[in-house]
């Protein structure tokens, strides 16, 4: 697994979203920044995909039919091998309650849709920077 740094080219991103258009958009943006990215549309496949793909950054939509982003996050955080992988929510749930809830659940970042190209990249880099800093301190 490639070590995660704030250099986007080092990123190996797995993104889960039930809307293919959203997957397309984020893939376009991150690919343009030379990140490796794999997108999962069916959240039921997410766990499996993570095991095989072995990303170093996971982006989760929250409100999804079937298994939600909350649930996936919860499951992933039970796996110690993923301790070094930041999990960032990227969602249209923009109410402050939701943001607070995600923070308490232990998400490593929270990006609200809609987003601009520049802003999403900047926010992701900030999330990664904060995460790696936290890890370094621990």
């Amino acid at each position: 697994v490639t070590a995660l740094t704030t250099e986007i080219s080092s990123w190996r991103v797995l993104v889960v979203d039930d809307k293919p258009v959203n997957l397309k958009l984020i893939t376009l943006i991150l690919k343009a920044q030379n990140a490796e990215i794999m997108s999962i549309e069916d959240s039921w496949d997410a766990i499996q995909a993570i095991e095989t793909y072995q990303p170093n950054l996971i982006l989760l939509d929250l409100a999804m039919p079937g298994i939600s982003g909350w649930d996936i996050h919860k499951q992933l955080r039970t796996r110690p091998e993923l301790d070094d992988v930041p999990i960032v929510a990227i969602t249209a749930l923009a109410m402050t309650d939701n943001i607070q809830e995600a923070k308490e659940a232990g998400f490593d970042g929270y990006i609200t849709k809609p987003y601009h190209v520049d802003s999403v990249v900047i926010e992701l880099v900030e999330c990664v920077a904060a995460f790696t800093e936290r890890k370094r301190q621990n």
């Binding site: 958009l25 923009a94 109410m95 849709k113 987003y115 190209v117």
Partner: protein, 918 residues
């Protein structure tokens, strides 16, 4: 001795006359002369024998003479020459034994040496001396009569004339040196024998020698022959003897006559004396008798005086005018601890403490100047001081005694320590009694049989409002007193005075005392006699307060009854510790099938069936234990709220329990309705929130594609686009963003209005926040060529409490507006500290400004200026409304100053410390 010295000088100088006296006569030897000198010294020493040194001198001289004489004699006896005869001076005159004294001289010296040696043997001394005198007389007579054999043993050894004369004189001297002692007593005696001896002895010695000498002269001259001389001698001796005998007889007769005369005179004198003795004796006897009588009387007087003194119960000290103690009795000794002998002659001040002595001295002097019987130091505490230094209180009475020897002062001193102690005890017990008296909460007084108050306490003073002194003076009788029915009461009707008259206790008499100010004090008075006619004790209890309390109680009871009777929709019940209902009342009493009459005075068990009792008893008990409780009881299709509360008095003691029941059926119904309404409202609210959240999510999802892809296209991620394309893609993006802003504003407003809007207050760094805003908004200003200025007041604390996100929202809204409505010029953002507790954001621009009529509803929702006319500026019209609501939420205010065409100034005042929890 002089002769001795002369002979010694003669020998030394060889002068013939000194050695021989007459030429041809034997010379006195040098040793002889030396012995005479020694004898002379010894004799002088004998005269002054009292001195021990003289004794020693005498003995030494005697010994020397003895030795000299003995040695010389031994030379004669043993016929040897010891060389002592010429050891100093050579004798040129003598033929035989040159320088050696004669046998006689030597033996005389031995004898005189012996005579002088002992000190206490005058008879021995005198005997030996007489012997020597006899020997020397023989030699002397020898010289007088020219009989050589008398002074010469042989030719070679003879006694010199001055030697023998010297011996004779010396012997006489020795005898007289001890004239009063030994044999010489006879001579020096004053008796007749002494007289005869003194007169006759010299004559008896001298006359025969003289006659002999005269006859010898006559014989030698040849006037007569030896027979004539002998007869003449006999005749003259007879004549002289007769003369002497006659003289003796005459002397004896004279002596006898004198003796007879003396005896006669003596007898006469004796008779006279006897006569006088008789007279004197008689006189003396008379005097004696008188004296004896006097003495007896005096003895009697003195002994009775002493007895009186000793029997006096007090210590008696009698002092002379100078303050010396002359007499004391044994009580004095006992009281002061001095033995009599130590006191007599001492100053009386010895019996006083040091501090009083000087003062007493003055007093004493004053007293002796005007003595009279009085007690000492009236009004002063007098103290005596014992020998051991301890002092004690005394009482002294003084009385002067005039005696021929002068003034004496008798002091009777009494130890009053016991009395003082008793007095002190009495006083203490009096005080104790008065204290107890004064401590009594009720008025108390003691009256004697003469109807005089002799003791009273403070409480009575207070009740009567009269000073004790006035009361004791009987002034209380001047007050007006009334019976309980208001009629006047006379002092004779007082329980105290009645008790004295009626001889029985009078109790519980109600007396009204009319005070000076006209008000009445009600008292309850009881009186009773003390045993043994010691007076009457009266107890007065102030009833005023009790009466007032009773009235108050009555009033409060009335109040309570009124309250209870009017208690709405229920009942009030008071119960005691026996669970007995004391008071029951209330408007709702009948509704529950109870009545005041059936309940009051009865216990729980008497009123209710056992199942009810069991249910309510714990609550009643809890209330009486101090624990209030409340519960609801359904009864006959109604609901009753029942409260059990403890009823405490002022001290906090639980006296009673109170039960209040109230029909709360209507209230309950109301409550249920309200509850349901609230639930419904909450449900609706939840649904609204749910709806808003869902709507937000559902609107944002498509917007993500719209904004995201248009941005992707504009950024050229998918390749170059034409300017026309870019212009349209930009339109899509802008509209998408507008839509997003609209959605956000609507959501915020909805949440604020639903009360669901929460501020996240943290410590924020305003300087950093301002800088972020500047960076974020600068591109917008740059796009329009506007000058974006910021200013930060350094007085603002480094951290301020607030919701950073919402402050940013306010800034973005206001600064966004300013940029939007300003075509050229500047936009200025200031953050200032505007007071001790608040800070201000001021945003001013050089924009189009706001018309006066628009200012009033500037902050209303969906108000955009100039909305109808040109619609030149995009916006939801919600921005300022949100700003105002956010600022209000934060506890601040927002205001605007503007004029059309002259720019606008928006001011936001916010607290430095949030009033909300962080």
């Amino acid at each position: 001795m002089t002769v001795g010295w002369l002979v010694i000088a003669g020998w030394l100088l060889d002068i013939m006359i000194l050695k021989h006296v007459l030429p041809g006569l034997v010379s006195m030897k040098f040793n002889t002369a030396l012995a005479f000198v020694l004898l002379g010294i010894g004799l002088l020493a004998l005269v002054n024998e009292s001195d021990r040194k003289n004794q020693r001198v005498r003995q030494v001289c005697a010994a020397a003479i003895l030795i000299l004489g003995s040695l010389t004699l031994s030379e004669y006896l043993f016929n040897w020459n010891l060389g002592i005869d010429e050891w100093i001076v050579r004798d040129m005159d003598s033929v035989s034994y040159p320088g050696r004294m004669s046998h006689i001289t030597a033996s005389n010296f031995v004898l005189l040496g012996i005579a002088l040696l002992p000190s206490k043997r005058p008879r021995v001394t005198q005997g030996i001396t007489l012997w020597v005198m006899g020997v020397s007389s023989i030699a002397l007579i020898g010289y007088i009569y020219g009989v050589e054999s008398l002074y010469k043993i042989n030719f070679y050894s003879s006694v010199a004339i001055h030697t023998t004369t010297n011996f004779f004189v010396l012997c006489v001297s020795i005898l007289f040196a001890q004239s009063g002692k030994g044999f010489m007593e006879f001579v020096t005696d004053n008796s007749a024998s002494g007289f005869l001896l003194r007169h006759l002895l010299p004559l008896a010695i001298l006359i025969p020698i003289l006659i002999g000498a005269i006859e010898m002269v006559g014989l030698h001259t040849g006037l007569y022959d030896l027979s004539f001389q002998t007869s003449l001698y006999a005749l003259s001796s007879g004549i002289i003897s007769v003369i002497i005998t006659l003289w003796i007889a005459r002397s004896l007769r004279q002596i006898d006559n004198a003796r007879k005369q003396a005896v006669d005179a003596l007898r006469v004198a004796n008779e006279q004396l006897e006569h006088r003795v008789h007279e004197r004796t008689a006189e003396l006897e008379a005097a004696n008798q008188f004296l004896r009588a006097e003495s007896n009387r005096r003895d009697q007087a003195e002994s009775s005086f002493r007895a009186l003194l000793e029997s006096a119960p007090d210590a008696m000290v009698i002092v002379d005018a100078d303050g010396h103690i002359v007499l004391v009795n044994h009580q004095t000794e006992a009281l002061f601890g001095y033995p009599r002998t130590e006191l007599l002659g001492e100053m009386v001040e010895i019996l006083m403490p040091e501090s009083y002595r000087i003062k007493h001295f003055d007093h004493r002097t004053g007293y002796t100047n005007s003595p009279k019987v009085r007690s000492m130091g009236v009004g002063v505490e007098l103290h005596g001081q014992r020998k051991d230094g301890s002092s004690f209180p005394i009482e002294v009475s003084l009385s002067p005694i005039h005696t021929p020897q002068g003034l004496l002062v008798a002091s009777a001193i009494r130890d009053v320590s016991k009395r003082k102690e008793a007095e002190e005890k009495l006083r203490e017990s009096e005080e104790r009694l008065q204290t107890i008296f004064d401590l009594l909460p009720v008025g108390a007084s003691l009256m004697n049989d003469d109807k005089q108050i002799i003791r009273m306490n403070l409480a009575l003073e207070k009740i009567l409002d009269m000073k004790i002194d006035d009361l004791l003076m009987g002034k209380y009788r001047s007050r007006q007193y009334i019976h309980s029915d208001g009629t006047l009461m006379l002092p004779t009707e007082f329980p105290s005075e009645r008790t004295i008259v009626e001889q029985q206790p009078i109790v519980d008499v109600e007396i009204g005392i009319i005070k000076e100010n006209g008000s009445t004090i009600w008292t309850n008075v009881s009186a009773a006699s003390l045993p043994g006619n010691q007076g009457v004790v009266t107890v007065t209890v102030d009833m005023t307060e009790r009466k007032q309390a009773e009235a108050t109680l009555q009033r409060s009871e009335e109040l309570y009854r009124t309250f209870a009777r009017n208690f709405p929709n229920g009942a009030v019940v008071l119960f005691d510790h026996d669970l007995r209902y004391l008071a029951v009342d209330g408007q709702g009493l009948a509704d529950v099938g109870l009545s005041k009459e059936t309940m009051e005075g009865k216990t729980v068990w008497e009123i209710f069936p056992p199942e009810t009792t069991t249910a309510i008893e714990p609550f009643l008990r809890e209330a009486l234990a101090g624990n209030a409780s409340q519960h609801e009881v359904p009864f006959a299709d109604r609901i009753y709220a029942v409260s059990y509360v403890p009823v405490k008095d002022e001290s906090g003691t639980i006296q009673l329990g109170m039960l209040m029941t109230q029909d709360v059926t209507a209230m309950k119904h109301q409550q249920v309705i309200l509850e349901e309404e609230r639930n419904r409202a909450e449900q609706a609210n939840r649904l609204k929130s749910q709806f808003l959240a869902t709507m937000s999510h559902e609107l944002r999802t498509p917007l993500n594609a719209i904004i995201g892809f248009s941005d992707v296209l504009l950024k050229g991620i998918l390749g170059e686009t034409t300017s026309i394309q870019r212009e349209h893609i930009q339109d899509i993006l802008s509209n998408g963003e507008h839509l997003l802003a609209l959605i956000n504003d609507i959501l915020d407003l909805s949440k604020i209005e639903a009360g669901q809007f929460d501020l996240y207050v943290t410590n924020i760094d305003l300087r950093r926040l301002l800088e972020q805003m500047r960076q974020q908004l600068e591109p917008l200003a740059d796009k329009k060529g506007l000058d974006l200025r910021t200013h930060f007041d350094a007085r603002i604390p480094s951290t301020v409490q607030g919701d950073a996100l919402r402050i940013k929202q306010i800034l973005i809204n206001l600064v966004g507006n300013a940029i939007k409505f300003t075509e050229q010029g500047f936009v200025d953002i200031r953050m200032d500290k505007s007071g001790d507790e608040d800070w201000t954001i001021t945003i001013s621009d050089s924009g189009i400004g706001i018309a006066e009529e628009s200012l009033a509803h500037l902050f209303q929702e969906f108000r955009q200026i100039d909305s109808s006319a040109k619609r030149r500026y995009e916006g939801s019209g919600l921005g300022l409304a949100i700003v105002q609501k956010l600022v209000t939420l934060m506890g601040g205010t927002v205001s605007v100053q503007s004029e059309l065409g002259k720019g606008s100034v928006f001011s936001v005042h916010l607290p430095l410390v949030s009033k909300m929890d962080i």
